[in-house]
């Protein structure tokens, strides 16, 4: 692995930065089509209501208004429901219940902000004026807000008794109950995993265009996976067949999961463009992002850990109620099940685990994957419980973990909850983190804080995640509706530069740099000679996009497969030129050389020869040098690490301050350490945000009371510290780069570490998140 230069392992400055720092980025809202109209959505002011009627007459009289469409118009035109792509089965074998989810509400609305129509006008101002003039007759009904009691409340959907989507289980109930019966000690916790609102800085947007001459629809939109967007719009919503629907996802200003999903807005916009034969543009205002982007987390959990008196874990029992919101978003059902229950072993050899999850509908915005997606919730359960057990048994935080860690010699390790970890060295990360935080010195630092009238606490989080989604075979057997491989194309141009086309998508992760490093390293050509293309269904065959920290592990592996094919083809070309066989050709550092001779050809010469095919034996050797690969992984990857947080709490005001935060992560091999560190920093900030600041709150009537940046507390620069970030390396055993993925680790590990530290400082067993100064101050009082 190169430590310098531009190859794999080098901290190369990002290729994409130049356009972003000079204002030349091209986001969806920067794109205008000739003659475009502007759309404004009509959104429900009620959490639950029947729609009596919608009077659009006055709106149509507003100067500039072109059209007003409602849910009934889409339904009449055969536009289908927004589907959920993962079928989860309940304990009794029955399928989860998926209620109808029309893009625009037709008969009833089920959350504040749910779109029920759109007004299209020549200008945004006219569209806004038109929206003001629409009169909708709502008959409002009592809202179902609390997830824990949703099964006792009014039924929201005709097809969903008790508002229960599914009642799922994983693990061995009998073995787990037996472990508890034989335990010396049981540590237990009641946990609320607070609802978060993703808040990518770029609001969602869509520009739909229709070319009447060709019948081709083009949708520019803020998507993390344009091919999936196209698939759903074609196959389910039935806007147009895939061959006549192009989805382009240009520069995208962050996603964190919230831009994976297929939403009502882009669906209505592309449909309306076809109806009007005119381009239609929409950009969310931030208040719309709060109301109608899919939210994250929102679990209520009871968790118990059975231990022997020496601190050995015997069994884990978890019972969770997960909020789906009003409808099933695109991957909502998989988040609290296959991305959550399967992670309950954590880094430990807990022999018996049983997880039950009930997914409920409420009159709130749909909940789906948000950075980490299920794995932060699982880590929070496991790591809060482990630390609770350590306190119960007066054990050292490191010691209780060491005693239970899966050891390097145990791999591959099959957990009781369906995963097989390929590799890891959990103590290596723990030890490094202990050194960075100066664990030995904590007692003195705590004493110093207390001498100043403050409190100080320390908390660990030894997390694991399953990412690199996913082996298609596994995902499909568990209910996924799509495969989860990734595609890559390496197109060598005539003069030797290379265009790389990936099916994954970059919305901040720096793939244009990282992927170019991989190809440049493998082909021995300058980094500047490699351009990476993504985000356009017209340019790449297919792809599953970016989420679940999958891009380098799956997309990067596809890239390796494609470059291997390029090298193999290059050898054939050289062998033909030298009138020998390809076995006699080596490829190193961009040079094809014949064994035991001084004859060689540089990569660019081979490229040229490929496109100027003099005397090629055409039945054996085609002209050209362009190769594709589809890579489907053999297993998930398992990044893991230990995060340690040290918190100081102001004894007077209760304000918690993060005094130090250390993250030591094992991502396997790292392509670009600068980018990886940046990914960790951002994830940590989101994890800290969940612990200390962020909370999406609905009142009893189902009104979102945290609907702006004045009410929803985003982490700002003065809320977080500088971080100490380091890595350990156990290479992934089953992909060609030995990589695991790094995009979510920060958000997965941080929250538990912070809350363990805060509760340690306060000397309380638990505290609701977010641990705001008010919450902490009250706990200071009650803890004496």
């Amino acid at each position: 692995m190169a430590e310098n230069g531009t190859g794999i392992g080098a901290a190369v400055k990002r290729k994409e930065d130049m356009r972003f720092i000079t204002g030349a980025g091209r986001y969806t809202d920067d794109i205008d089509q000739a003659g475009q109209a502007c759309a404004v959505f009509l959104r429900s002011p009620h959490a639950r209501a029947t729609i009596g009627g919608i009077d659009t007459g006055a709106a149509l009289q507003v100067p500039g208004v072109v059209a007003v469409y409602t849910g009934a118009d889409l339904a009449a035109d055969g536009i289908g429901d927004l589907p959920c792509g993962w079928l989860v089965k309940s304990k009794d074998g029955s399928d989860m219940i998926q209620p109808p989810h029309p893009p625009l509400a037709v008969e009833r609305v089920n959350y504040v902000g749910e779109p029920y129509g759109l007004v299209i006008a020549d200008s945004l101002q006219a569209a806004r004026d038109g929206a003001e003039a629409v009169v909708a007759d709502f008959d409002d009904l009592p809202a179902v807000v609390g997830v824990a009691t949703a099964d006792q409340a009014d039924q929201l959907h005709e097809s969903v008794p008790n508002n229960q989507c599914y009642d799922w289980e994983l693990g061995d109930k009998v073995a787990t109950d037996a472990a508890f019966a034989n335990a010396d000690h049981v540590a237990s916790l009641d946990i609320v995993n607070n609802r978060l609102i993703p808040n990518a800085m770029e609001p969602r947007a869509a520009v739909g265009d229709y070319d009447a001459a060709s019948g081709v629809y083009t949708l520019h939109t803020t998507s993390q996976n344009p091919h999936l967007e196209r698939l759903v719009l074609a196959a389910f919503v039935q806007v147009a067949p895939e061959s006549r629907l192009r989805v382009v996802s240009p520069d995208v200003g962050g996603g964190f999961g919230s831009k994976i999903f297929v939403y009502a807005e882009e669906t209505a916009v592309i449909w309306a463009a076809g109806k009007l034969r005119r381009a239609v543009k929409w950009r969310a205002e931030r208040s719309e992002s709060f109301l109608a982007d899919a939210h994250g987390r929102d679990h209520v959990t009871k968790a118990e850990l059975a231990l022997s008196s020496d601190g050995t874990f015997l069994g884990l029992r978890v019972k969770t109620i997960a909020n789906m919101g009003a409808y099933l978003s695109t991957f909502a059902s998989s988040v609290p099940t296959y991305l959550y229950g399967t992670l309950m072993a954590g880094q430990y050899k807990t022999p018996a685990i049983y997880v039950e999850v009930r997914a409920m509908f409420t009159n709130t915005a749909p909940v789906d994957a948000y950075r980490g997606a299920g794995r932060p919730e699982a880590t929070y359960v496991v790591e809060r419980l482990v630390e609770t057990a350590a306190r119960d048994l007066s054990m050292d935080l490191a010691e209780i973990r060491r005693r239970n860690f899966i050891q390097p010699e145990d791999f591959p390790y099959a957990t009781p909850v369906a995963l097989t970890y390929d590799t890891g060295d959990y103590e290596a990360s723990l030890d490094k983190a202990l050194r960075h935080i100066d664990y030995q010195g904590f007692g003195a630092r705590r004493a110093a804080s207390e001498a100043n009238g403050n409190r100080r606490g320390i908390g660990f989080s030894s997390y694991i995640e399953a990412c690199g989604l996913a082996p298609s075979q596994v995902a499909l057997s568990l209910g996924a509706g799509v495969g989860l491989f990734e595609s890559a194309e390496v197109r060598v141009n005539v003069t030797g530069s290379v265009t790389v086309i990936t099916g994954s998508h970059s919305h901040g992760q720096g793939h244009e740099t990282t992927f170019a490093q991989v190809v440049s390293d493998r082909l021995g050509i300058p980094l500047d000679d490699v351009e990476v293309v993504h985000g356009d269904t017209a340019r790449s065959d297919y792809g599953l996009g970016t989420y679940g920290s999958r891009s380098i592990a799956v997309g990067g592996s596809a890239l390796i497969r494609a470059t291997d094919k390029i090298i193999a083809k290059g050898k054939k070309i050289v062998a033909h030129n030298f009138e020998t066989t390809e076995d006699n050709i080596d490829f190193t550092d961009g040079i094809f050389a014949e064994h035991e001779s001084n004859r060689s050809m540089a990569f660019a010469e081979v490229a040229f020869a490929a496109y100027v095919p003099a005397n090629f034996p055409l039945d054996e050797l085609e002209p050209g040098l362009s190769e594709k690969a589809f890579y489907d992984p053999g297993n998930f990857t398992y990044p893991a690490g230990t995060h340690i947080c040290e918190v100081e709490i102001d004894g007077e005001t209760g304000v918690p301050t993060i005094a130090a935060f250390v993250a030591v992560d094992d991502f396997g091999h790292v392509i670009n350490p600068m980018i990886v560190e940046g990914q960790v920093h951002g994830g940590l900030c989101q994890g800290i945000g969940q612990a200390l600041l962020e909370h999406g709150v609905y009142d009893d009537a189902g009104q979102l009371v945290t609907g702006s940046y004045m009410d929803y507390c985003m982490p700002r620069a003065d809320d977080v510290p500088s971080f100490t970030v380091d890595t350990t390396v156990t290479p992934c055993t089953h992909n060609p780069l030995g990589v695991k993925g790094c995009g979510e680790a920060g958000a997965i590990g941080a929250t538990a570490a912070v809350m363990n530290a805060v509760t340690d400082a306060l000397g309380v067993k638990s505290l609701p998140m977010p641990a705001t100064p008010e919450t902490v101050w009250k706990a200071l009082g009650s803890a004496g």
Partner: protein, 152 residues
Amino acid sequence: MEVTLTVNGAPHSLDVPDNALLVEVLRERLGLTGTHVGCDTSQCGACVVHMDGCAVKSCTVLAGQADGAEVTTIEGIGTADALHPMQEAFRDCHALQCGFCTPGMIMAAIDLVKTSEDLDEQAVRDGLEGNLCRCTGYHNIVRAVLAARDNM
């Protein structure tokens, strides 16, 4: 209403609605799409530009208020061949990921460095409190601003 202003050194006279915002004029009339709209309510800072040398949130400045003003946007502070030291520092320190908050962050940071004495880490964090970034955790942004401080 008629508004006359200078943007990145070029004079413009524009007929705009009374309620037009400065950011709308920059993005939609002048095609300067480097300035972004992230919240519409003056809380995220993606739209920060300089007006008569001071950082302002252009989503809450009426175009009429900019009449007669000198406005500088991200497009006006440097070019790919001659970056502003703050742009250079953001690239060198990996202080951006998705890039959406970056123009506003750079414009706010330039103003912060120009108007501050003894800028240390805490002062940078306090000074950038009005600019949200969801990607970087601010760690590398703070490093970049401190690096640029020494080069401006």
